[in-house]
């Protein structure tokens, strides 16, 4: 009961009955996707979905707690590579992928904790954090890029330099291998689960503290909160969610390269989150899915104008909906809507 209350809290979009009916309809449509889409389209949909945990983590970190990170893809890469190394070495057993997944997540948590400890317990100023995380990412990319040689072999797995790590095994429990539709359902259920957990967390007291920290670090600290500890906490959480996306990515494509950790992929999650509306989880999730879909659709058409169209889209969205287009749509006064404007937490720190 209390959990239900938290799910329906005010820190995310949608609390009305109609909202939940719509939400259920969308989930149902996603579950029924195999009925009207080919396996290939399902595989594409899995790709759009698997980016969502990363974006949700960034949303919590940035939208709710006010810490912008350009380095989420570093954890994406760390988890992907760790999974590749562990699962690739445990091909004899059927639980290799499971161990690899757990190992990847733990490594993300550990690296995130160490990096976060230095940043937050060193009280690095807020606006420096994005650049610091970006430099960390570039460092990781430079390192991974030169691992082409044979000496960069961990057990049976070659790191592979810029050509990337190939032959990463798909996810597997027992003898069941998650591929095609099965992987789609796996990604879908994980994404939905992550969304609900995030939503509950942000509606719970933890979320309130996140917002308090974003609104005013000093005030929060002088109410007795160890701000550094909470910042570190949400940073590690976001790192693990980015890691989860990384895991799903390598299980989806069986492949990862250092360019996944480069400057361009580093900026993308920030764009998804900003376009959706960074302090609304659902908006972020929807924007992530849609932007990935648009980008794919444009490139599929082989259209050279794709980046121009994408750029113009971002420009217009930001000009007319600076708080995020999904949030703006959600907060429109629909004619049929009873006028209960929920107290929305706006941003002043923007």
């Amino acid at each position: 009961m209390r959990l239900l209350h938290l799910v329906n809290g005010g820190e995310d979009l949608g609390r009305s009955r109609w909202f939940w009916i719509g939400f259920a309809a969308v989930i149902l449509a996603l579950v029924a996707l195999p009925l009207y889409q080919t396996e290939f389209e399902a595989s594409n949909a899995s790709y759009y979905l698997l980016n969502i945990p990363l974006a949700l983590g960034l949303s919590m970190l940035w939208g709710y707690c006010g810490i912008l990170s350009f380095g989420q893809v570093a954890y994406f890469g760390i988890a992907g590579y760790a999974y590749g190394v562990i699962a690739g070495n445990l091909t004899e057993t059927s639980w290799g992928p499971l161990v690899g997944s757990v190992g990847g997540l733990l490594l993300c948590a550990a690296v995130g904790a160490i990096f976060g400890y230095f940043v937050f317990f060193g009280r690095v100023q807020g606006w420096i954090v994005p650049i610091l995380t970006l430099v960390f990412t570039l460092l990781l990319e430079t390192f991974l890029g030169q691992t082409a040689g044979y000496q960069w072999r961990i057990g049976a797995v070659q790191l592979g330099g810029y050509n990337g790590m190939t032959g990463i095994p798909p996810f597997q429990i027992g003898n069941f291998i998650f591929q095609g539709y099965a992987f789609y359902f796996f990604a879908l259920s994980l994404t939905v689960a992550v969304y609900f957990i995030s939503r509950i967390l942000m509606n719970a007291h933890f979320g309130k503290i996140m917002i308090a920290i974003r609104e005013d670090v000093l005030r929060t600290e002088t109410l007795g909160y160890d701000v550094r500890f909470y910042q570190l906490g949400v940073f590690v959480l976001a790192a693990m969610l980015a890691g989860l996306s990384g895991l799903l990515y390598v299980q989806w494509g069986n492949y990862i390269t250092p360019s996944q950790v480069g400057l361009l992929p580093a900026a993308l999650p920030v764009i998804w989150v900003a376009v959706g509306g960074r302090n609304r989880l659902l908006a972020v999730a929807i924007a992530t899915y849609l932007l990935n879909w648009i980008n794919y659709t444009l490139s599929e058409a082989g259209n050279q104008y794709a980046p121009v169209i994408m750029g113009a889209l971002l420009l217009l969205v930001m000009l007319f909906f600076p708080r995020g287009i999904i949030v703006a749509i959600a907060e429109l006064r629909w004619p049929w809507r009873r006028d209960v404007t929920p107290v929305s937490v706006q941003d002043r720190s923007a």
């Binding site: 007291h205 309130k208 308090a212 609104e215 005030r219 600290e221 007795g224 701000v227």
Partner: protein, 241 residues
């Protein structure tokens, strides 16, 4: 009543570059006292306040809270030891509701709030007329009530000593008097209050004792009457102000 001072400093010193902002300050506030710290602009009030909060670390000297050395402790630890703080500019969470503001303030320290503190808090909520407004976003409050909200938030943590930096800045005379009366009431319920203040009328209204800072040092200390009678204080502070 020779008790342990509620909050005190020994030879507290802070430099910024070549400028000495606080120069060997020995301050001692007894339990149950309302102490006002005054001084002209640049006297070192803000620095002293920041040192007491834990925003800045001193270059020398000690800060004692209830007899315990807190000089090197970060702000949140001092708060957990019973210090409450408000700032010159209002720092309530403007975008959260009043209930959420108070909730955030209360949750962290709920374990250490004793019955006295709880009574003070509930009393303050009533006096500040905040009890009816819980679902309103804080930014909708008029200025003086925002200030009050912040004091209430501080009380929610159940402090023994509160440190207020110009709590009545921007209030009308009536609101100032109302604030003074609430603070006196709370003081009557056992709360030690230290106020850094500009407004002499307000100081007259509440202070048991007044400390005058000048050029980073304690220039004079005494009752309101003593201080207002003090010739040099008039010169440096009232005279020039």
């Amino acid at each position: 009543m020779k008790m342990q001072p509620a909050i005190s400093t020994v030879n507290l010193t802070k430099r910024f570059g070549g400028v000495i902002a606080t120069d060997g300050v020995d301050l001692s506030v007894s339990s149950g006292e309302i102490r006002c710290i005054i001084g002209p602009n640049g006297a070192g009030k803000s620095t002293l306040f920041a040192l007491l909060c834990g925003i800045h670390a001193p270059d020398g000297g000690e800060i004692l809270l209830g007899g315990r050395d807190v000089t090197r402790l970060p702000a949140f630890r001092r708060v957990r030891l019973g210090l409450g703080l408000t700032f010159q500019t209002n720092r309530a969470y403007h975008n959260l509701t009043i209930a959420q503001n108070l909730e955030i303030a209360r949750r962290r320290n709920s374990a250490r709030v004793d019955s006295d503190a709880l009574r003070r808090y509930q009393h303050a909520i009533g006096l500040f007329e905040l009890d009816q407004l819980t679902d309103l976003p804080a930014r909708a409050l008029p200025h003086h009530q925002l200030q009050w909200l912040e004091i209430a938030m501080v009380l929610a943590g159940g402090p023994d000593v509160i440190l207020l930096d110009e709590p009545t800045a921007g209030m009308s005379p009536e609101e100032t008097m109302q604030t003074a009366s609430v603070l006196r009431t709370l003081n009557g319920m056992g709360l030690t209050i230290v106020v850094v203040e500009h407004d002499i009328a307000f100081v007259r209204e509440i202070a048991h004792r007044v400390t005058v800072l000048h050029e980073g040092r304690i220039f004079a200390e005494g009752s309101v009457a003593e201080i207002t009678a003090h010739e040099d204080v008039r010169n440096i502070y009232l005279g020039r102000a």
